[in-house]
Amino acid sequence: MAQITEQADIRPLNGFGLWSEQIAFMALVAFLIVAPTFIYPVLLMKALCFALFACAFNLLIGYVGLLSFGHALFFGWSAYACAHAAKVWGFPPELAILTGTATAAVLGLVAGSIAIRRQGIYFAMITLALAQMMFFFALQAPFTGGEDGIQAVPRGVLFGLFDLSDQMTIYVFVVVLFLACFLLIYRIIYSPFGEVLKAIRENEQRAISLGYKTDRYKLMAFVLSATLAGVAGSTKALVFQLASLTDVHWTMSGEVVLMTLLGGLGTVFGPAVGAFIIVAMQNYLAGFGQWVTIIQGAIFVVCVLLFRRGIVGVIAHALRIRL
């Protein structure tokens, strides 16, 4: 079976290649420390939430080869759960995020056990349809606030110590949370579990014949990906103090696919890079209305036809390093 990622024909790493990921990570941390001095922190936090969302999505497409076209389901519903917990139940932010994340994990388990019954294109269509179903639930359920969403969600005081209504405090919190999840994903990718996932991506039949229960691995990866998308969605709800239908709509699922594709499927840093570019583009082109959608569509077409490695993939391939 052909692979969606083009990392298979990777060239041997040069001597610098083993250190490239560490260096890139340090550069990322340095950027996040300096960035608030010249970029509006709310925009940075938005980009970080989407970067985490895209990294979670990439865990599935990049390392198991499963294209989920319904990841907005986990992003949006975790945002609703987190916002509801913080606003109605009065949970502190750490518990609200935990509520949102747990919601995404449970939804991931249910959606995953249905979706992994089919492969390839069907998997994409099934996840899309399940997400659309949950979109209609969100539209009709009383607690989601319908078209208005859940507004004015209190950010609260983290661990009773840090007041998140302060812009810089919540920025530091979002950065720490993002980096922690990023390292967790990195750890998963290079763990023995991650190696089995890659084996399934390359050749599922052979992985089965080697005795791996591939369905369990796929489900586990799906739940992990949904859970991490849940962290992203919950954080987004606190940052913007809003959970709305936009977050569960299929356009959101499409956006996360776009970010990952643009940055580079199956690369460690690609999804984050893609997310930053798309969020920046949406921000600076916001005044152009429908042109944003048209440009996003054009990026899809260009990436698929000419640029399947994505930005980070191209760089990694050219320099013979891992990124």
Binding site: M125, A129, M133, Q290, W291, T293, G297, V301
Partner: protein
């Protein structure tokens, strides 16, 4: 008048008819998807956008004084030609790659097409009036049947079974089926398979456009009219399995009727019932009702 389970028959049959109409569109669209998938191994995400283009083309033709009846033929041909251009420009480059790239590319195309139409025409609907010959309706005693709606169901049935007949019972269809199974061998017999693939895509897109023209007098002509519909059609395709033409037709009509009945008995669930059925079918019979397990 008798009542059925506490539901007045007018409401019941009315919703049943609406369900049949929706089913007609599901059947036409999932048929197009199945035909395209069979030859190109690509799931055409732009199908909803092309359905919308069909409706818009009918609307434009009307500005030039070309009415519904010619539009029924002309619009699918025009939109089908745009499909052929898309296949030649983009899709043919993807056949050697993973199927998912076709999905991503056509998704991008759908975004571009819908974005352009919204940029030009906003998101409010444009009116398209029904042909005079089909206005009005018949009172069948137990329900009122608007002529146009009856016509949509009948035409959809004719087109669906016509397509089935061509593919399953004619020589052309035999070539198509053979090329689906083993394109290299069919080429060795001197049949131009790439051209057949191109024309198949054009035909599938034309079917979507035809559905769009038929929908224009019922639903407002609107840039996003196909955006949500295509997701429902995907669910229909998953339920039916894309292996069989007849499966696509039967599932399309059947699910339309079930959706209509849900509107009567449990209106809250009418938006989601098809997705719920999809989940149940996947749990019980992962290959789909008419699909072949592989």
């Amino acid at each position: 008048m008798f009542e059925l389970l506490g539901i007045p028959p007018q409401a019941l049959f009315g919703q049943l008819l609406l369900g049949l109409i929706n089913g007609s569109f599901y059947a036409l669209l999932s048929l197009g998807l199945a035909v395209i998938f069979g030859m190109l191994n690509i799931i055409n995400f732009a199908h909803g956008a092309q359905y919308m283009m069909g409706a818009f083309t009918a609307f434009f033709l009307l500005q030039f004084g070309i009415g519904y009846w010619p539009a029924l033929i002309i619009a699918p041909i025009i939109v089908g030609i745009t499909g052929i251009v898309i296949e030649r420009l983009f899709l043919q480059r993807l056949y050697q790659l993973d199927h998912l790239y076709g999905l991503l590319l056509t998704f991008g195309l759908a975004l571009i097409i819908q974005g352009l139409f919204r940029h030009q025409y906003g998101s409010s609907g444009l009116p398209y009036s029904m042909p005079a010959q089909l206005s009005g309706g018949h009172n069948l005693g137990f329900m009122f049947l608007p002529n146009y709606r009856g016509w949509v169901v009948v035409l959809s049935l004719i087109v669906c079974f016509g397509t089935w007949f061509v593919i399953e019972k004619t020589k052309l269809g035999a070539y198509l089926r053979a090329a689906t199974e083993n394109p290299t061998l069919v080429r060795a017999f001197g049949i131009n398979v790439p051209r057949m693939i191109t024309l198949t895509y054009g035909f599938g897109v034309g079917l979507a456009a035809l559905a769009g023209v038929m929908a224009a007098p019922i639903y407002a002509v609107n840039p996003l009219m196909g955006a949500d519909l295509i997701i429902v059609v995907f669910a229909v395709v998953v339920i039916g399995g894309m292996g069989s033409i007849m499966g696509a037709i039967v599932t399309g009509f059947g699910l339309g009727v079930i959706e209509g009945l849900t509107k009567v008995f449990f209106p809250e669930a009418s938006n989601t019932v098809i997705f719920v059925i999809m989940a149940i079918v996947l749990l019980l019979r992962p290959a789909g009702l008419f699909g072949r397990a592989n």
